[in-house]
């Protein structure tokens, strides 16, 4: 390789946007093939990875190179031919970097999809063109809307098996729209594809000239994600207080955290919760120098004009824009543990950087995710079930609704005995 320093385009390498997406599909919808196709056509699969799966496929006596082996990382997964856990994959094009949360299609479905969806900007929902909208499509779409994934892309796959038929695609689109109107989905796009042949994945289809929209990759590269985060309501959950213990920083108290919403500027009047004391932002510190402003999702350190008592678990907000405060709240809870949640169950709750205890005071309903109907009168929430519950906490929380802010509106529950994370909750 020759030295090409003079051609080095640092902007092309250093200034790219990151898009996180998740994929949802039922068994045999072609999810592995689609991911394999995206990785392969964007040249993100390396020779040694291809060699490794070629030799593995051969050992297993398979006739073709099994692209699913790329994504199934654990021994048990390869042995059983199933995906057990969320896996994260990475690829990039000259336009964007992508992080895929690849969630398995059957086992532990809800738990895994909720996990993958919690950090995603976009969800790809796969529909088999031959089967159309099925129960699982409902469930995937409901979870995507519950987790407030800002963008949904419905890929109608296996178009090659329905002769690239426009009417079949149109029917699926109208069926989907009919039930999606009941959900809280802001942005949905439909693309007819064949993951197997690659039509409309990276390359535009020659078989479906009736389709005028973009290919999947083009959409992933260009969809506007700049407005996905809340840049209005300034929130800084304090993670850690930096006290250097050095002579030159004698009175230094830096409130370190990741901005969870909105923008903070030097000179802003801020309020610390729960104390309610107000002060003014003196400086926004980073090792690279002071900043004039900090916005979500930056990790920064705030210095205030006055010495007030602030510690981990507290929240710094703008004086005239405060979150809700309360000890009794309603949460859409997704249960993730084999041991069911009983009514009156007690758990450790984590919300931003705060930890406290909580009790389940009411199970309002459990949702049938296949039909979206509410089942009332339940006394427990079982693995992979989603329900609306009321909880009471030992100390007040400062929160926003999950619809308003995914960071300050989310909680997890932890079992006190096992320390396992047993539930994910979205504050209503």
């Amino acid at each position: 390789m020759t030295t090409t320093q003079e051609n080095f385009d640092s902007k092309a390498y250093l200034d790219m946007e990151l898009l996180r997406f998740t994929t949802a599909g039922s068994v045999d919808d072609g999810k592995s093939t689609l991911i394999g196709r995206l990785l392969y056509d964007s040249k993100s699969i390396f020779e040694d990875q291809i060699e490794a799966i070629e030799s593995a496929s051969e050992k297993r006596g398979e006739e073709y190179v099994n692209l699913a082996l790329l994504t199934d990382g654990l021994r048990a997964e390869r042995e059983q031919g199933i995906t057990i856990d969320v896996a994260y994959r990475y690829f990039s094009t000259p336009k964007r970097k992508f992080i895929i949360a690849d969630t398995p299609g059957h086992i532990q479905y809800t738990r895994n999809m909720v996990t993958g969806a919690s950090t995603a900007n976009l969800a790809i929902i796969l529909v088999d063109a031959r089967k159309g909208i099925i129960e699982q499509t409902f469930r995937h779409s409901y979870i995507a809307s519950l987790l407030q994934i800002p963008h949904i892309v419905v890929c109608v796959n296996k178009m090659d098996l329905v002769d690239w038929d426009e009417a079949t695609f149109d029917k699926i689109v109208s069926d989907y729209k009919a039930f999606a109107s009941k959900l809280d989905i802001k942005d949905v796009t439909f693309i007819p594809i064949s993951a197997l042949t690659g039509d409309n994945v990276v390359e535009r289809s020659k078989n479906m000239t009736w389709y005028n929209g973009s290919t999947l990759l083009y959409l992933l590269e260009n969809i506007h994600i700049g407005s996905d985060l809340n840049h209005i309501d300034a929130r800084l959950p304090v993670q850690y207080v930096i006290r250097p213990m050095k002579n030159e920083y004698h009175d230094y108290r830096g409130y370190a955290g990741r901005v969870a919403g909105g923008v903070f500027r030097v000179g802003d009047i801020v309020k610390a919760l729960p104390s309610g004391f107000t002060s003014k932002i003196k400086a926004i510190k980073t090792m690279d120098g002071d900043l004039d402003e900090a916005f979500t999702p930056q990790s920064v350190t705030l210095l205030l004009e006055d010495e007030i008592d602030i510690s981990r678990g507290d929240m710094i907000v703008r004086e005239n824009n405060v979150p809700q405060t309360g000890q009794e709240l309603d949460v859409m809870l997704c249960w993730m543990n084999e041991k069911p949640m009983p009514l009156r169950g007690k758990y450790i709750l984590r919300h931003t950087s705060k930890e406290c205890k909580t009790i389940i005071t009411e199970i309002k309903y459990v949702l049938d995710t296949n039909t979206l109907t509410r089942v009332e009168g339940q006394t427990e929430l079982k693995l992979n079930e989603i329900g609306r519950v009321s909880i009471k906490t030992t100390v007040p929380l400062f929160f926003d609704s999950y619809r308003k802010n995914r960071q300050t509106g989310s909680i997890i529950l932890v079992d006190e005995a096992t320390n396992e994370t047993v539930a994910a909750g979205m504050i209503v």
Partner: protein
Amino acid sequence: MALDYHLNHLRELESESIYVLREVAAQFENPCILFSGGKDSIVVTHLAMKAFYPANIPFTLLHVDTGHNFQEALDFRDQLVEKNGLKLIVASVQEAIDKGLVREEKGYNASRNALQTVPLLEAIEKNKFDCAIGGARRDEEKARAKERFFSHRDEFGQWDPKNQRPELWNIFNGRKHIGEHFRVFPISNWTEMDVWQYIYQEQIEMPNLYFSHKRMVFERDGVWYSDNPYMQKKPNEVAEEKVVRFRTIGDISCTGAVFSEASTLEDIIQEVAASRTTERGTRADDKRSEAAMEDRKKAGYF
């Protein structure tokens, strides 16, 4: 306008990693950084300095010394520690062998790589570390693609990949019972390319091994090893001088060199962009079996 607020991918990844490192400092009593002298652990150390600036980093560096190191990596480690006033603890594989805790592998492909697990777990126990921060990335290897940021280890230091805690949003659960510990991977979401771009953006100093240089190397099973006193050459293996660099730095006996003229960070970024093999393609330790990494990780490896 609010719409103008966006971070590029490196700043977003950096912010996520700093957030994770601060969670470690807040949730654990006595964390350490597993420091190998390789680029990933150097980047993690750099991120830790940023996370707690202007305070010192609240972590000790723990180096598991196989005794089969590149001297350049050791020198670099010592300079970094000296320059930044860091605390360093070295756990030695040689000592574990001398004490009879582990047995040295025999034969031509003997490596001390897998032997690191025992002194690592011993050092964690002896120093009462309740969290070990590592530079592992999910894009490196397929078992690592399933790792959490906060990864629980039982009292035997073992990883149970089929029973991991779900990890949602950016809420990390570091609760554990006495005797258990956590491994935390702040740069989980970075790729090899992100790491090099970040090193370039931040102008982080790196060991010379990563840059093109002349070196005596010999070939075995398609991998070019540095000629070294710890590896016994077979009769047909002859060391010759080549222009090489290393894409990863591990134990000298399992890290292969690549032929490369890349002598600057810009060159390396362009080389990585054009590369058709993964960086771990040069690592003999991963080639032992399809699940080599998973098996070592379950036993308590990095």
